[in-house]
Symmetry: C2
Subunit: 521 residues, 2 copies
């Protein structure tokens, strides 16, 4: 079924219930359904046909959700652009998939004008509450279009049709457009409901950026579940804590960096956040120290981990709350990415694509209805990534006897030092337990003696005193000597983050490897 | 995916966990997987190919579950025969779909021999622990076959292939073979998991007959969920209460008649049944009086209703526990069949298939991945039942503003008395509240004056004294006069039941309508 199915279900079951709350605006499902049918009509009147692309470059707001629904309603294809990318990077994506329309908000109207000036053949739509800071010349107004357009019928496109193109990259080289069908995203949504990750009649907070597939996937899950939606324009610990109280949020999705920022922020204590039942985290591993602080500060909240990637729509494994506590924690399961979710086959394979025994590290591969249609106009790269239906994640890991998958590292993040493999996640997990450490990343840097040597970049907590040798000594008490950093950089600035909130190790590595051959980047 | 998917998942995640317990036997998932692969091999060696039918005529036992899995593993088609049918009725079904194999247990070995004698071209397999009471001549032995056969690989048939043929009928005229695909049954299973009807790592009790689609569907749900299975050979209140205690059952499926028998039976108090968390009921409406007694006797148990039919694999709507209590009950929602489940569109239509307004009674129709492939070799009947993808249930009902579907009656069970429509469920619900009533059914019988008149058949509780005029007076205080029975038959014998535990109203009506034209039968 089309990803609009959840909207139809809410129109049938809960027409007068609250669909969306953003700042001081609130809309019922009936109102949302009407706006979506008219927005789809407006896009069609602008010449957008079934299969055409509509790009969006916006911070979070209610109209972003309306675009996800209306573009699907029309049978067109949504292309959410990365708000952290430069104009050049976004130009690349636009040239790659050729959208007819680009929708931008106040924050990105200027960049949109700049892009249209270079590309020429794209219509601009301005969607925000504030007057257009770039001036109204050349940009159509979202609300004007909506007011004039007649509602149209849902195209009700089948499972197999393309729903959206999601550009990945940043940490992994030149970006590629991941094509996900309606069936891909609906299948993931059904799997997440089956996992019991969603409260009935809950309210989901869009705190992570709405362009990113983690929040996109949650959007579809909560459309299917019939949840109400609360939105903050951009994640800050303060705005998130405030929104949880104001909208009585029951669920949200955060990347570990956001969890760390939220639980370490004084504003958390100033708001009643006891409504928050479920936090799904993913996109990168969480350190035990951050998890412990999160559990202490949010005692009513269950944390659940999803592991996956955009190409898997995105969930491959789920680690439920039960495995973060009690017996599960005693067995160390909280350090795993969880077990394969429903309807997704997960295997660990060697370099010849042969399954390895339990406990042996190999590449994590996954198969099922959630495997992407392919990379937009890149059949060779698609063929390399998806072999016999198995998506090759590029992540290294092993599976234990009970089916728990332990992600040891991005294969390309593995550091080979003196012939030994060092998985940076393990070292980071150790360093993060040091009381003076706010954030850390471990990378390989060139070493004449060792090929690569283990190097740590540490952001210290405000006012904390810590020296590189303290970190090294701390590690030596806890992990094998060859895994311990040989050098540590201590700083007060946060580490550079990707749009998904992942630490940009590529940027950390760059100065060390300039002019050198880097096997691991 | 094939319906064997859940077995593979349990083999991956829980190989040494308990899969099945029956009487004093227990098998792990690893053992079950091995037996299934060998049973599939045995069937193939008997000449069963992909798409061939394998019929089963047995009371409940562990080998019945192995057959469901092994026949799917081979890519063949299971045909579970009705244990309450006569040899003639089963002969009809076998001649209809032409199975190569008929598997029977001790209870049905004699009937199987009789059938084979008449049909000729069918191989018999005997599957039970006791020696074959019909003698071993002409019947292969299940365990012998299994011991000799090499395991084979799962055919992993796609969603679209036929999984089983399920004969319906009894209450609705000549039986038809409902064809359900693997995708039909997997889709229903995913919907039930999404509804949250199943505990994680629970144990499901097969108390209802395993040939019947209600238990069959639950079987696939619990395979997907990875639940453990407990089995009683045949439902009795005593055996069920005992099994709940012995196997620490967390979930089961019962038809209302079984719930009533269980909660009114003294054995319930003799066993620790506090492990029972979820009871799904369906197949026929439950009276409020029985529901109240059930809730009083099983205070730890949540009751949830599913409404549907074999042709819908089978669930169309779900009434969760929350609607049986508190606000839901205050709004009368416990009298509804619940709301459309995920991925199933439900509408109420008039005689021209046009949707009717909320609150208006019409025919309930449903559309989605769970609609059957069709009736075996009956294209005309299929075309009449499924129009533009909408399965016509033959049930009358209405939908309220919040999407709750109230099933007023089988359309053909509606009584037209003096020009007024009387829905027998409403009258039965009233009579069931009388303290002397154990069971009741309301039918239309011929009346010169009214066309039809409302007639009640009542089974009184042991020792209770009640006269027809008491029942009529009781109704007159509670429902409109035209709905009250004009005649009441009081008896001590239970009412006749179909294989599904539905009261056989056809049999109750027959003596009254003999030689007369009956518009409603």
């Amino acid at each position: 079924m089309s990803t609009t199915y959840g909207l139809h279900r809410s129109l049938l079951l809960n027409r007068s219930g609250t669909a969306i709350r953003f700042e001081n605006r609130s809309r019922t499902w009936g109102e949302l359904g009407d706006r979506v049918a008219r927005l789809a009509g407006a896009l069609r009147s602008l010449g957008v046909a079934r299969g055409d692309r509509v790009a969006v470059l916006m911070l979070n707001q209610d109209r972003y959700l309306e675009l996800y629904l209306a573009v699907a309603w029309l049978g067109a294809v949504i292309v959410p652009l990365n708000i952290r990318w430069s104009a050049l990077e976004n130009e690349d994506a636009i040239r790659d998939c050729g959208p007819k329309i680009l929708v931008a908000d106040a924050a990105f109207a200027a960049m949109a004008n700049q892009l249209a000036g270079k590309i020429g053949s794209i219509r601009l739509v301005y969607a925000d509450d504030a007057p257009n800071p770039a001036g109204s010349a050349g940009m159509l107004d979202f609300e004007d279009l909506l007011a004039k357009a007649p509602p149209i019928e849902d195209a009700q496109v089948p499972d197999s049709e393309l729903c959206g193109i999601f550009y990945t990259g940043g940490t992994t080289g030149r970006s590629k457009g991941v094509m996900l069908s309606h069936g891909n995203l609906m299948s993931n949504s059904r799997n997440m409901l089956a996992e019991g990750l969603v409260s009935k009649r809950g309210t989901y907070l869009h705190a992570a950026p709405m362009f990113h597939l983690a929040d996109v996937a949650a959007t579809y899950v909560h459309f299917l579940a019939g949840s109400s939606h609360g939105i903050v324009r951009m994640f800050t610990p303060e705005a998130t804590a405030q929104a949880i109280e104001k909208f009585k949020i029951t669920e949200t999705l955060l990347v570990p960096t956001m969890i760390q920022m939220l639980v370490d922020h004084p504003s958390l204590a100033k708001h009643d956040v006891s409504s928050l039942q479920n936090v799904l985290y993913g996109a990168s591993p969480i350190s035990e120290a951050v998890l412990d602080r999160a559990m202490a500060k949010l005692p009513h909240t269950k944390f659940q981990q999803a592991y996956g990637m955009t190409e898997l729509s995105p969930c491959a494994t789920i680690l439920p709350w039960e495995d973060h506590i009690g017996e599960g924690r005693a067995k160390g399961r909280h350090r795993s990415g969880g077990r394969p979710t429903y309807m997704v086959d997960v295997r660990i394979v060697d370099g010849d694509d042969k399954p390895v025994p339990r406990g042996t590290v190999g590449e994590i591969v996954a198969r099922g209805e959630t495997v992407m249609m392919g990379y937009w106009e890149r059949p060779e790269e698609t063929a390399r990534a998806v072999v016999d239906g198995w998506m090759h994640t590029g992540d290294g890991g092993y599976m234990d006897e009970d089916g728990y998958v332990y992600i040891v590292d991005r294969i390309k993040d593995m550091i080979v030092s003196g012939g030994e493999n060092v998985y940076s996640a393990e070292v980071e997990n150790c360093i993060a337990q040091h009381s003076a450490v706010a954030q850390c990343a471990v990378i390989g840097i060139p070493s004449e003696q060792w090929g690569e040597q283990v190097h740590a970049v540490v952001m210290r907590k405000p006012g904390a005193e810590v020296m590189p040798e303290d970190i090294i000594a701390f590690c030596k008490q806890r992990i094998a000597g060859y895994k311990c950093p040989r050098s540590v950089k201590i700083q007060d600035e946060p580490l550079p983050l990707s749009g998904a909130g992942k630490i940009l190790k590529r940027d950390l590595r760059a100065p060390y490897w300039e002019g050198k051959t880097c096997a691991v980047n």
